[in-house]
Each structure stands twice: as structure tokens, then as C-alpha cells.
């Protein structure tokens, strides 16, 4: 197709887009232009209006004012189907794949090739193979989606999105579930798509990753553009400054390490690939676990917490060897686990915040046969204040809260239980900058109180900045333990590439 459009006219543009919901302004005169061949980052804290903007572009919501232009011409996007027809494709945080169908079927779902009731399977497979080739990925179109890794599922989502020949691709937090190497792959694919003249709008909470990938960045705050693509310098510091409106110490690390050893792990081995893992964590210390997704960090956490049975080795808290038969034993010994996936493993969505926090230590509410709900109310409200949970979040079902407030409630559960060893698995995943700062402050409070923290994070900057010592995990083994100040980001990256070559 000859390119007759003027390069100066952006492929897509939104101009003064405004959206009001029952009197609340979610987007206030937002303008962006998305050029062909450019990866455009969109940043902002939770609730800044990013989702509303995308939903208007995808036809889910209709703008209250303003317009959307394709090749300089205003277009109306009546709904998701119209959005696809107009050349817009989006990949959302939550997957939209059907796990029991094959890759090819998923890619063409809702758009199956063939005539009436008869599906043309051959065409479907061939075109799926062709889309995969465009992405330079090797995923079997015949494979069932449920059998794929999370990273491959993410790629199938993208394949599905570009299969309709979209001129713009919107990605909302596509890397939440991916490891370092997989993120690199995704970036490579996105650059390739940009080189094929697609416009890409990229949304992520991982600022370092955005810094690495994008060509320009627009920052939203309270539904308005606070820093345009032309103004924003592509650097993490500039992002943070624009998002929270001030330049603060991004990682407020405080050194609280004491002499006493609080947690000892000796020769841990589980059926879940953990091999000969030994380390100590001092009172007041943050012990970071680095390594790629799937290196065995989460499995070490599970072993410490009694989820996976120990085949060998022992765990000591305060010098006392634990009998770890279940998480209940770990909880009784004062170990806390803030799980990686708080929605699946952390929260009780049928509860408000208060019972979510008290559940691990109901004994604090009195006899098990006569709990005092008034005591619960008082103790949990103290925690709300201490954790700075927003006032509007109190007395509401936790499903209605922001990711940051949800995470504070999961951490609050362990403060309520009086835990002394905190295992934090990706504690800042999917929460905004403000809530992250609160989590960091909380880690400092924990160490100041003499508690031990085991921190697992895929955010290398966070891991390096917040840990006192770092253990690098590879294939379920702890291959190296060093002071965090002696670890370079490149060491972590190298550790993960070694894993790749070893595998």
C-alpha cells in the first residue's frame, strides 16, 4: 500500500478529550499525538485517568468533550468492535484469552476465517503462523493456551491484537507478570512493530523499563496532562518528578541492621526445586533475593513459610528450630508472608479491611469463643492510621480499594499478628508511586523495630536500594550473597542471563 499520508500528520491523535462520570472529571482536556513508528509512554499514578483515556480510545466510554483523530480526520469510535475496525488494538492487564482453546483459535476468536458455520482451519493456522512470524516468536499455533507460560500468553495477546492489522497498539501494564528476559523479548518485539510503522502507546508502573523502551512520555495527574511528550525528559527521575510533583528521595533506605541473628535458614531443600539454601537475616536487616522470575525466589519464600514441605534443612527464628508443617506453624513462629499475587493469595474480597487484618491473630480479640468486635474495630483502626490507609477506604469491601491500599491491608495483617520476620514477595508490584513510597517507609519502620525482612523484587533498582544484603538465586540455589552496595544492576542481569544459558 503506497504511503500517501503526510508524515507530519500523526497516525492517531486525541485532542482535548474530557470525560465526566456523574460529576467527577476523570479526564480533563487530555491531548496526545501518536506518531507512526513511535513508542509513546503514558505514565501516572493509579486513578490519574489512564484507564479512562484508553477506554475512550477503545470505544468503551464515549468522551464528554473533545475528539479522536485518525490521520488528521476526526473519527467516532462507537464501541470496541468499531475500535478494532478503525485499526486500534489493546492488550490489557487482565488476559482475555480462553485457556482451553489453541493459540490460533484465540488469535482469530470473534473473527474466525471461513464461510458461515464452517471454519477454515487451514487458513486460520496459516495466518496465525504468519502473525507469529511477524513477531519473530516461536509459539506453536496448535498449542493450548493453558499450557503456555505467562510470558507466551502475553505474546499471544499481542499477536491477537496485531492480527487485525491495527495501526495503533495500546499496551496496559503488559509486563506485570513477566521476568527480566521476557521483558527484554517483549521490548524487542515492540521495537520491531514500531519499525513496521505502528504507533504504540505503552503503559507501565515499572519506570526503569519505560525509560529503556519509549521514545517519548506523557504524564497524567488527576486526569490532566502535567507533562507533555515534548516536555518530558526520558529518565526515571524526570518521570517521578512529574508524577508526584516533587523530587524526593525515591528510595528512603535507612540502615537499621543489628548484631542479633533473627532468621536462620540451613540447607533448605523442597520438591519445588529449592536446593541447599542457607542464609541468615539479622534483626533490622533487609535481605534481598535477586534473580529472574522462575529462578526459585518465590519457592524459597514458600519453604520459609511452610507452604512447601522441607525435604531437608531447618528454619530457625530467634535461635529456635521450627516445626514447619503448614503456614499455620510459620505464623505461630512470627513469620509473615506478603504474597506475590495479593488478589489470589492475599485478600478476602468478602471482607472489609478490618477482618482482613485481624484474621491471622484472632486471639488478640479475646477468647476464640467470645471475640470482641469492639476491640477489633479499635486495633484495626489504629493500623489504618499507622499505614495511612485513605479515609475513604475504611469500612469498604477490599475489592473496591486501590492496589496501594489493598497492599497496606495485607501488610497490616502481619503487623496485627505481631510478626517479626517479614517475607515480602514483590510488595510494590502494580501499585502507584505514592503507595510504593509508603511500602518503603514501612520497611524502614519494620527494621527500626528490629524485625527481619526478606525482600523479593523483580524491580532491580528497588531491590538494590532497599536491601542491606542480597542473595542471588539461580535454579533454586543461592549462588552468591553480598552486601547490596557491592552488587551492580549488571550483576543481577548477568545472573539471569547465566540462567538462560544454563537452561
Amino acid at each position: 500500500m503506497p504511503d500517501q499520508t503526510n508524515k507530519a500528520v500523526p497516525a492517531w491523535e486525541v485532542r482535548n478529550l474530557t470525560k465526566r462520570f456523574a460529576g467527577i472529571v476523570a479526564n480533563d482536556s487530555v491531548s496526545l499525538s501518536l506518531e507512526r513508528g513511535q513508542i509513546h509512554g503514558l505514565l501516572g499514578e493509579n486513578g490519574c485517568g489512564k484507564s479512562t483515556l484508553i477506554k475512550m480510545m477503545m470505544g468503551v466510554h464515549q468522551p464528554s468533550a473533545g475528539e479522536i483523530l485518525r490521520d488528521g480526520q476526526p473519527v467516532t469510535i462507537a464501541g470496541p468492535t468499531a475500535a478494532r475496525a478503525a485499526g486500534l488494538a489493546a492488550v490489557f492487564q487482565e488476559f482475555s484469552l480462553v485457556p482451553t482453546l489453541t493459540v490460533a483459535e484465540n488469535i482469530w476468536l470473534g473473527n474466525l476465517p471461513g464461510h458461515r458455520a464452517k471454519v477454515d482451519w487451514q487458513t486460520m493456522r496459516d495466518s496465525a503462523t504468519e502473525v507469529m512470524a511477524r513477531l519473530s516468536v516461536a509459539i506453536d499455533p496448535e498449542a493450548t493456551v493453558a499450557d503456555l507460560s505467562v510470558a507466551d500468553q502475553q505474546l499471544v495477546e499481542i499477536a491477537k491484537a496485531i492480527a487485525t492489522d491495527a495501526s495503533m497498539l495500546i499496551l496496559d501494564e503488559p509486563t506485570t507478570a513477566l521476568g527480566l528476559e521476557e521483558i527484554k523479548d517483549l521490548h524487542r518485539i515492540l521495537r520491531k512493530l514500531a519499525a513496521q510503522d505502528k504507533a504504540i502507546l505503552y503503559i507501565s508502573h515499572r519506570l526503569d523499563e519505560v525509560e529503556e523502551l519509549v521514545d517519548c512520555v506523557t504524564v497524567l495527574k488527576d486526569g490532566r496532562v502535567v507533562s507533555t511528550a515534548a516536555e518530558t525528559e526520558v529518565s526515571v527521575d524526570a518521570f517521578v518528578a512529574a508524577m508526584i510533583g516533587e523530587i524526593s528521595n525515591h528510595y528512603p533506605k535507612v540502615d537499621n541492621v543489628r548484631d542479633k541473628i533473627l532468621l536462620e535458614a540451613r540447607g533448605l531443600r523442597t520438591a519445588n526445586r529449592v536446593q541447599d539454601v542457607s542464609f541468615n537475616v539479622h534483626a533490622g536487616e533487609v535481605f534481598g533475593l535477586g534473580g529472574v522470575l522462575g529462578s526459585g525466589r518465590t519457592e524459597i519464600a514458600r519453604a520459609l513459610f511452610g507452604v512447601d514441605r522441607l525435604l531437608a534443612g531447618e528454619v530457625k527464628v530467634d535461635g529456635k528450630t521450627l516445626r514447619l508443617r503448614s503456614p499455620a506453624d510459620a505464623v505461630a513462629a512470627g513469620i509473615a508472608l506478603v504474597p506475590e499475587n495479593r488478589k489470589v493469595d492475599g485478600l478476602f474480597f468478602n471482607f472489609q479491611g478490618q477482618p482482613n487484618m485481624s484474621i491471622s491473630k484472632l486471639a488478640r480479640l479475646g477468647s476464640p469463643a467470645a471475640m470482641s468486635l469492639r476491640t477489633e474495630e479499635r486495633l484495626t483502626h489504629e493500623l489504618y492510621d499507622r499505614l495511612e490507609v485513605s479515609a475513604s477506604a475504611k469500612d469498604r469491601l477490599v475489592g473496591l480499594l486501590s492496589g496501594g491500599n489493598q497492599q497496606k491491608i495485607v501488610i497490616g495483617r502481619w503487623l496485627f499478628a505481631g510478626a517479626r520476620v517479614f517475607v515480602l514477595d514483590e510488595p510494590t508490584q502494580g501499585i502507584d508511586v505514592g503507595a510504593r513510597a509508603a511500602v518503603y517507609t514501612l520497611i524502614n519502620e519494620l527494621t527500626a523495630a528490629g524485625h527481619a525482612v526478606v525482600l523479593i523484587s523483580s524491580d532491580d533498582n528497588e531491590l538494590l536500594a532497599m536491601s542491606d544484603r542480597i542473595g542471588i538465586v539461580n535454579h533454586g540455589r543461592l549462588v552468591d550473597i553480598r552486601a547490596a552496595s557491592d552488587v551492580r544492576k549488571s550483576d543481577l542481569v548477568r545472573a539471569s542471563s547465566e540462567q538462560e544459558t544454563a537452561a
Binding site: 456523574a22 503448614s326 499455620a328 492475599g346 478476602f348 474480597f349 491471622s360 469463643a369 467470645a370
Partner: protein, 324 residues
């Protein structure tokens, strides 16, 4: 208004009031004192079994077996009193304990061997009924004990005794769910079993006990059933599980677990029984009655699911009006 509309007790209570009003208006005999005390007798067994159904539904399980368990237990109870000469109080306690044992069996299969509750209790529905027919060559046992009928038909302060059993058991269940660590754990395990495990709760033990409570309630139901007709029969309790589950669901309990309220279950049980009673008074055949029961269940669940949306619409309207 809005808060009231969203309160979980409103929908079942409204349903109960509407049903009662219709029954009172269409059926002259409905409000007779005789009929009202008859209602208390009719509702007692369903409502007591529904306590167990609610516990099991709260842990995201389901119990299809109480009707069959009651048949089996009435046979054992009747035979042990009539033919073995076991004193009535002891036989009553044994029957309740045996019911708890049957529930524990369901609980063991479901919680520890991880066979889905729908399957284990469906199997039990079949097996318990079959076992009931093994006793006394499959024939009912009549005239069990002279004192037995008094347990069901007796009165205290002019009110039928089953009303007191009902109040005591519901008060106890309400207290357990609200003020005990076990009750809280029941809601937590039903709401999110993964999170419950990782919060240090003994998830399987909680599930096990929920089934055991359901079994004990079936045991109490069996004693009342035997007392009502002074007999035991392998044909008792057919379809009772459906009424009991319906009572919980009409009361707003979520089959996904973790959401539900025991007082609402009582309201649900009353609703069902009042409808049945009104239909009976109007000589509507049983076949039609069961169809009506099905329609009530679907309507109640549908209304409950739409309730939040109706609330949202009203909320949106109110907000717009304030703006303009």
C-alpha cells in the same frame, strides 16, 4: 434509602413480607392461630437443616445429603428405641452424634481427600437413602415411643416447642458465625481458601467441621421428623436438601462461598414454607408446588444479583440531580 437498599437483609425480608401479604390476602385461613402454629411446625425441620446448609455454603461447599441422612437416621433412631429399648434421651443424643458422623464422613472426603463437595454429597444422597432401606427390610417403623410425639407437638407457654428449638439453634449459629474464631474462619475459608491457608488458618479442618455441623443439624432434623409421625421411614426427607439450600440462597448466601447470613437463611426458610402452606391451603397439587419452589429460587437469586445495579442506578440519578 440507598444504604437501606444495599443492606443484605432487605431483599429476603421484602420477599418474605410480600409472600406473607399475598398469602394473607388470598387465603382467609392463613392467619388463623391454628395455621400459624402449624407453620411453626412446618418450618422447623427445613430451617434447622438449612443452618447446616448455610455453614457448608459459606465454606464454598454444598451438601446434597441431609434429606437422605434424615431417612437413614430416623430408621436407626426408631429401631434403636423400639427394638433395642434404648432410652429416648440417649437415643436422641446418639442420633445427633451419628448425624454429625455422617457429616464428618462427607467432610473427610471433601476436605481431606479433595473430592468436590457436589460429588461426595451427591453420592451420599444416594448411599444414605439406600442404607435406610437396609433396615427393617425397607419398611417404616411405626409407634416408636409414647413420649416421642410430645417432643414435636408439645408446647411451652402456649407456643409450640419446635419454635424454641429453632430460636435456640439460630441464636447459637448466629453467635458462632459472628463472635467465634471458628465462625470468622468459616467466612475466610469460603472467601479465599488460598489466602486463608497463607494467613495460617487450618483450611481443611474448618471445611471438615462445617460438614460435621451440617450432619449434626440433619441429626436434629431426624429426631424431629421421627417425633412428628412417631415413626421412622426410609422415605422421609425426600427433597429436603433442595428446600434447605433454597432457604440459604433465598437468604442471599453466595454459592461461591464467604457471603451469607444465618438470620437471612431463617427468613428464606420462612418464605419457602409460607408459600408451600398457602398453596396447600388452596389445594394446589404437589407437582405445582415444586415448580413454584424452582421459580422462587431463580427469582430470589436474580433479584439479589440485580440489587446492587438497581442501587447504582439510583445513586447515579441522585448524584446527577445534586449537580444540576
Amino acid at each position: 434509602m440507598n444504604a437501606l437498599l444495599r443492606s443484605p437483609i432487605i431483599a429476603p425480608l421484602a420477599a418474605l413480607l410480600i409472600v406473607t401479604a399475598i398469602a394473607a390476602l388470598t387465603t382467609p385461613r392463613f392467619l388463623d392461630t391454628g395455621n400459624l402454629s402449624n407453620l411453626a411446625l412446618q418450618v422447623s425441620i427445613v430451617a434447622i437443616v438449612a443452618i447446616g446448609s448455610t455453614f457448608v455454603i459459606l465454606i464454598a461447599g454444598i451438601d446434597l445429603s441431609p434429606g437422605s441422612a434424615i431417612a437413614l437416621l430416623t430408621m436407626i433412631f426408631a429401631m434403636s428405641v423400639k427394638f433395642q429399648g434404648i432410652p429416648l434421651p440417649i437415643a436422641i443424643l446418639l442420633t445427633i452424634a451419628l448425624g454429625a458422623g455422617l457429616g464428618a464422613f462427607n467432610g473427610f472426603l471433601t476436605a481431606y481427600l479433595r473430592i468436590p463437595a457436589f460429588i461426595t454429597t451427591l453420592a451420599a444422597l444416594s448411599a444414605f437413602r439406600g442404607m435406610a432401606f437396609l433396615f427393617n427390610n425397607g419398611s417404616p417403623v411405626f409407634s416408636v415411643h409414647d413420649a416421642l410425639e410430645g417432643i414435636f407437638y408439645g408446647t411451652f407457654l402456649g407456643l409450640p416447642l419446635p419454635l424454641y428449638y429453632l430460636i435456640i439453634l439460630y441464636a447459637a449459629a448466629w453467635y458462632v458465625l459472628r463472635y467465634t474464631a471458628f465462625g470468622r474462619a468459616v467466612y475466610a475459608v469460603g472467601g479465599n481458601p488460598n489466602a486463608a491457608e497463607l494467613s495460617g488458618l487450618k483450611v481443611r479442618r474448618i471445611q471438615f467441621f462445617a460438614f460435621m455441623i451440617a450432619g449434626a443439624m440433619a441429626g436434629i432434623g431426624a429426631v424431629l421428623m421421627a417425633a412428628r409421625l412417631n415413626s421412622g421411614s426410609p422415605n422421609y426427607g425426600v427433597g429436603l436438601e433442595l428446600s434447605a439450600i433454597a432457604a440459604a440462597v433465598i437468604g442471599g448466601a453466595s454459592l461461591a462461598g464467604g457471603r451469607g447470613n444465618i438470620i437471612n437463611t431463617l427468613i428464606g426458610a420462612l418464605t419457602i414454607v409460607i408459600v408451600q402452606n398457602a398453596l396447600n391451603l388452596n389445594a394446589v397439587p404437589t407437582s405445582v408446588q415444586t415448580i413454584v419452589l424452582g421459580a422462587i429460587i431463580v427469582t430470589a437469586v436474580g433479584l439479589d444479583m440485580w440489587r446492587n445495579e438497581i442501587g447504582n442506578v439510583l445513586h447515579g440519578l441522585a448524584a446527577t440531580r445534586r449537580k444540576s
